[in-house]
Subunit: 239 residues, 2 copies
DNA sequence: TAGATTGTTAATCGATTAACAATC
DNA sequence: TAGATTGTTAATCGATTAACAATC
């Protein structure tokens, strides 16, 4: 990662900083220290400084980070200023939930329409956004300059829908279907993998229940241990 | 991570292997190679072998992995055999969606009841699961031997609900609220951070749009670059 | 100035990958 | 046996952390 980019993990932490800052009282000229942020978010203090230094120069020695400036820089860096226009495909339970959830606006996302293949749904609307025929997807994306596609269709339909999005010029896709999809160069497919989270929970419980067992399955060693035992970082335990 | 545990990232990939295997025709004695799995999931071949070797000995040189055995071992390792009993707290849009989504059963999760504080909801039911008064949460968890709590409440309410879960003896919590929560030792709080995924998408679009800009903000170097440019691993592009 | 706090350079740690050994 | 494929050990790569330098 020498090239002057930003590490993927840092990038993923940035919205967390931003949403924490948004909960703070927005007083004129107020500042906050890296230590305070770190403790609130369960991260390392140095990590916070390094992450923030990547995207902002709102940090002042002896003072801390100017909250307003830092928020501005984070929003700018993440591209939340220019609202991203999105469509959602698959108006099932999850699709409906995401459509109805208002919070995405805070992250620059603007869902302008939904698509489905069920005629019972086509022509209806959810919170003012029309549900359209999936057939019309590529043309709609092109005409409406859609930037993000959200896939909440069954696994079996996901690749086909992705292809239609790509055909419509969409270059960023948020995939909730539990499959790996294939897209051309330049198109980012980000998979939201709920099963991964569940795996961590399930394994943690299994370890806690029968700490001794695990013979054939555990490699060598012995001590049952879940990955983030070390307190700070990722998984989040008490610190 | 010397101690004989399993790396967190490997653990997170395991359900992906499992769900891919489940899509395969389940023929008696059928086998599949690491190369085939890797290519289907967009992972490295060695990584697949290493991951699978951690949890199974279904791999046979020259043959590949016996599909049925491998699935059994994955399910066993992840603890999907013993169904985990869960409650969901916060019957808003997202909560409703997760309640109605049937697919979690495949991952050993069994949501037995939901909780809310709105009297309009209390007493109703979603797909046969009762919506109960949040006041009753700790006692219910204890009596019903609940293992997992799913938090789909607003950020401001999340810590209080977590405390109630802990009081009820729950040791694994899936947190959809956009906040960091604090829990005692031994309680795993896994945060599902949708904003992180959105950040990756948004940043990718911003880079694609104006590849040159980014002066004040980008560290040194120049070439705009998204973390997973390298094709295989995590983010998933075409390979 | 002295003290507090940020920013950066070097060391550590963990995960991935490459090269090779083992085996059906 | 020879060839294919898994499993493992060593090398590489990237991210985190510790130690220190810079600065208001």
């Amino acid at each position: 990662m020498e090239t002057g980019g930003i590490s993927k993990l840092t990038l993923q932490r940035l919205p967390t900083y931003l949403s924490y800052l948004r909960t703070l009282p927005q007083e004129e000229g107020a500042a906050i220290s890296a230590a305070a942020i770190a403790s609130a978010l369960g991260l390392g203090e140095v990590q916070v400084r390094k992450d923030l230094a990547t995207v902002s120069d709102a940090g002042k020695p002896k003072v801390g980070y100017l909250i307003a400036d830092l928020m501005r820089d984070l929003e700018h860096f993440l591209g939340y200023g220019t609202r991203n226009r999105a469509v959602l495909i698959g108006v099932g339970n999850l699709g409906l939930a995401l459509l109805s959830y208002g919070g995405f606006a805070d992250y620059g996302l603007n869902i302008v329409a939904a698509f489905d293949n069920k005629s019972a749904l086509i022509g209806s609307a959810v919170d003012g956004r029309p549900v359209l025929d999936i057939q019309a997807l590529p043309a709609f994306c092109q005409k409406e300059k859609i930037q993000i596609g959200i896939l909440t269709v069954p696994a079996s339909a996901a690749q086909g829908c992705l292809n239609a999005l790509v055909e419509g010029g969409v270059r960023a896709v948020w995939n909730f279907a539990p499959v790996h999809l294939t897209a051309p160069e330049g198109v980012l497919v980000q998979r939201e993998n709920m099963a991964s989270s569940l795996a961590l929970l399930s394994y943690h419980l299994k370890q806690a229940e029968r700490p001794a067992e695990n013979g054939s399955v555990q490699p060598r060693g012995a001590r049952p241990r879940i990955a983030d035992e070390k307190t700070k970082n990722g998984g989040s335990r008490h610190g």
